[in-house]
């Protein structure tokens, strides 16, 4: 029992990182109906920037902010320079951002090298554990990451359902043309959302880079996992991303124990199963 709960908790804390990455992707898709294939690049870039800044400043929070802001600006640049013109051509946006990710992979390798790094945290925080019922001692750091993801998720969900900006976003999702006709500056909203979605990936990079290594290849890995998460959860839905992330995290950890050889295969197979039963994803809307 203790072991089962331990694995489940590991799965959920891993899911926290997946959710942070995927939330940006699903946010962008929800409003703009485009998928950015440079999302993994944003994750890794954010992680690297967070690593450098946190190391120089000695402060993790400064690093996290720097990672998020810098990648937000990076996203804004991509949006303005490359994909704004092709807003209605989702396929071309996907392919252009794929090109961006090819270049990003190569340039990050040149800049940060092939060896792995990790965003530094205070040594006392790294070894701190808390006593949980049944499970026993558990690393505090992982629980903090889980809590952080929950807070971000709740803020995003509230932001979309409760604020005026959220209302505009929801209106844009339903009918962008009609929204524009009511005087909303839709291009501005798009730019803000794209930057925000990228910033979330950058932030996820710093958080993920604190628990796990940052190295070449992680960009592709996190792009794939976030795609699987949003496909499973339903594209465009924040609660869907949370559910998708939890499923992917749990499946990957349980399979690691019970079928380690095919752990990754089974994690991806989850997506196939969901698609077969519910093509629009768990929380996806059927038009």
């Amino acid at each position: 029992m203790a072991q089962f709960l331990m694995i489940a908790l590991n799965g959920l804390t891993l899911a926290a990182v997946y959710f942070l990455v995927a939330s940006g992707l699903t946010l962008i898709f929800g409003l703009m109906r485009v998928i950015t294939m440079a999302h993994g690049t944003s994750y890794l870039l954010g992680g690297y920037i967070g690593y450098v800044v946190a190391r120089e400043s000695g402060n993790w929070v400064v690093g996290a902010l720097a990672g998020a802001v810098a990648v937000g600006i990076f996203g804004l640049l991509i949006h303005q320079l490359l994909i704004k013109r092709f807003q209605d051509d989702d396929m071309r946006v996907a392919l252009i951002t794929l090109g961006v990710s090819l270049i990003g992979t190569d340039l990050m390798l040149a800049a940060f090298g092939g060896t792995a790094t990790q965003v530094p945290v205070d040594a006392s925080l790294q070894v701190a554990t808390v006593q949980l019922p049944i499970i026993g001692s558990y690393p505090l750091l992982r629980l903090l990451v889980l809590a952080f993801a929950v807070i971000v998720g709740v803020l995003l969900a509230l932001g979309i359902s409760q604020t005026r900006f959220g209302a505009v976003v929801r209106a844009g999702v339903d009918d962008a043309q009609m929204t524009a006709a009511t005087g909303v500056n839709v291009p501005l909203v798009f730019a803000v959302i794209f930057a925000l979605g990228s910033a979330l990936a950058g932030l996820a990079g710093v958080v993920g880079g604190t628990l796990f290594p940052l190295m070449p290849g992680q960009d592709g890995t996190y792009l794939l996992f976030s795609l699987v998460v949003v496909i499973v959860g339903g594209m465009g839905s924040i609660p869907g991303a949370a559910i998708g992330a939890a499923l992917v995290g749990l499946v990957s950890q349980f399979t690691l124990v019970y079928a380690p050889t095919y752990s990754l295969v089974l994690t991806f197979a989850l997506m196939v199963v969901v698609l077969a039963i519910r093509p629009q994803g768990i929380m996806g809307r059927k038009s």
Binding site: R33, V34, I35, L82, D88, D89, D90, M91, R92, A94, L95, I96, L98, G99, V100, S101, L102, I103, T105, D106, L107, A110, G220, L224, L227, V228, I231, M235, T261, Y262, L264, V265, F268, A269, M271, V272, L275, A276, P279, Q280, G281, G284, R285, K286, S287
Partner: protein
């Protein structure tokens, strides 16, 4: 009027004079070049495998992608994985079962096509961007499996050696013989694609691409047609996979890695993602870059990525469209008021507007 209609009407215009014989002359010239290639290059033992044969199998696999994109409106990133399935089947049959190569090739093509049907069953209910994401993920499922399954794929070590066979009078171990076989296979695949696209089946597919609702209303089984198209593209990709094994003499997970998948996409886009023949131009560019870019830059991927983005931004019809763009420019100058302003689409003709929806379920 959409771009596709413009293109269609352009295509329907009767050609006169130069326009009529030019393509035939070009075709003949390309074929002459391709057939004399082993005799013009200075180091055939380098040029034939590294540029020639590699371009041909990359091109064939990319052609299956282009076929699906242009005539079915589905951009599949699983084509490399399907080619990989057929390549792995050859490897399994030859290395593990110790049967002759031709057995492997025959079974490989069948298994590759079946794999394509499976991919279709999972993915063909979705469309456009969803289809792209799902096929990408399916490709990665196969990659993960291939890297782990010691019993079947020999995991990371891969299946080797797969020696080039002698088939009757043809000794494929001779690099020149192999090149000509590959060239003929590529031509056959091309003609096969052309034949299918102009058949009733192909026309139905294009009808489904442009308006699935209407075709469904007319009583067509849209899903079934899509699966059939996937199967045909899978067959073509499988041929590419067989050629890949002949070229590389081994098969390992690297064959179906994310990078290899993207290679095929880059080839298709640079060649012109709407052109069945253009893929070979794209493949030549990519193989040349991968062989020679080191002479002037350390950043091969950055270079590839830049070319890729520039093509998408400014020449969405790729290398294959260069001639057409020039012609369009000229006709625009001649006849400014009749030529309509039309943003270039990704596919040529581009996907119909109806393909973009709010749900990832098809139609």
């Amino acid at each position: 009027m959409t771009t596709s209609q413009i293109n269609a009407s352009l295509a329907r215009q009767p050609r006169t004079g130069v326009a009529k014989w030019l393509p035939i002359a070009f075709g003949a010239l390309v074929l002459i070049l391709a057939f004399s290639f082993p005799h013009i290059v200075d180091r055939p033992r380098f040029w034939l495998p590294n540029i020639g044969i590699r371009s041909l199998w990359l091109g064939i696999i990319a052609m299956s992608l282009v076929f699906l994109n242009r005539y079915v409106g589905l951009l599949s990133l699983a084509q490399m994985a399907i080619a990989g399935v057929s390549a792995y089947t050859v490897g399994f049959v030859v290395v593990k079962l110790e049967l002759p190569f031709m057995w492997g090739a025959a079974i490989g093509v069948v298994v590759g096509t079946l794999a394509a049907i499976l991919v279709g069953l999972v993915a063909a209910r979705t469309k456009a961007i969803y289809f792209l994401m799902i096929t990408l993920a399916i490709g990665q499922v196969f990659y993960s499996w291939a890297s782990q399954s010691i019993e079947v794929t020999n995991a990371r070590r891969g299946l080797a050696p797969i020696d080039r066979p002698e088939i009757g009078p043809l000794d494929l171990a001779n690099i020149q013989t192999l090149y000509y076989c590959a060239l003929i296979l590529a031509i056959v695949c091309y003609l096969l694609c052309r034949y299918v696209t102009s058949s009733t089946f192909g026309l139905t597919l294009q009808g489904i691409r442009d308006s699935p609702e209407r075709m469904r209303a007319l009583g067509y089984n849209v899903f079934g047609y899509r699966i059939a198209a996937m199967a045909f593209a899978g067959l073509i990709a499988s041929f590419g996979g067989i050629l890949l094994v002949l070229d590389r003499n081994q098969v390992d997970p690297n064959v179906v890695s994310l990078n290899s998948t993207l290679d095929v996409l880059v080839v298709a886009v640079i060649g012109g993602i709407g052109s069945l023949g253009g893929v070979f131009a794209g493949a030549v560019v990519i193989t040349m870059l991968s062989n020679f870019s080191q002479n002037f830059t350390d950043r091969y991927l950055t270079l590839t990525g830049l070319v890729f983005i520039l093509v998408l931004l400014f020449a969405p019809t790729g290398l294959a469209g260069v001639g057409q763009q020039v012609r369009r420019l000229m006709s625009r100058r001649r006849n400014a008021q009749t030529e309509q302003e039309s943003p270039p689409g990704l596919a040529e003709p581009p996907r119909a507007e109806t393909q973009k929806g709010t749900s990832n379920e098809a139609d």
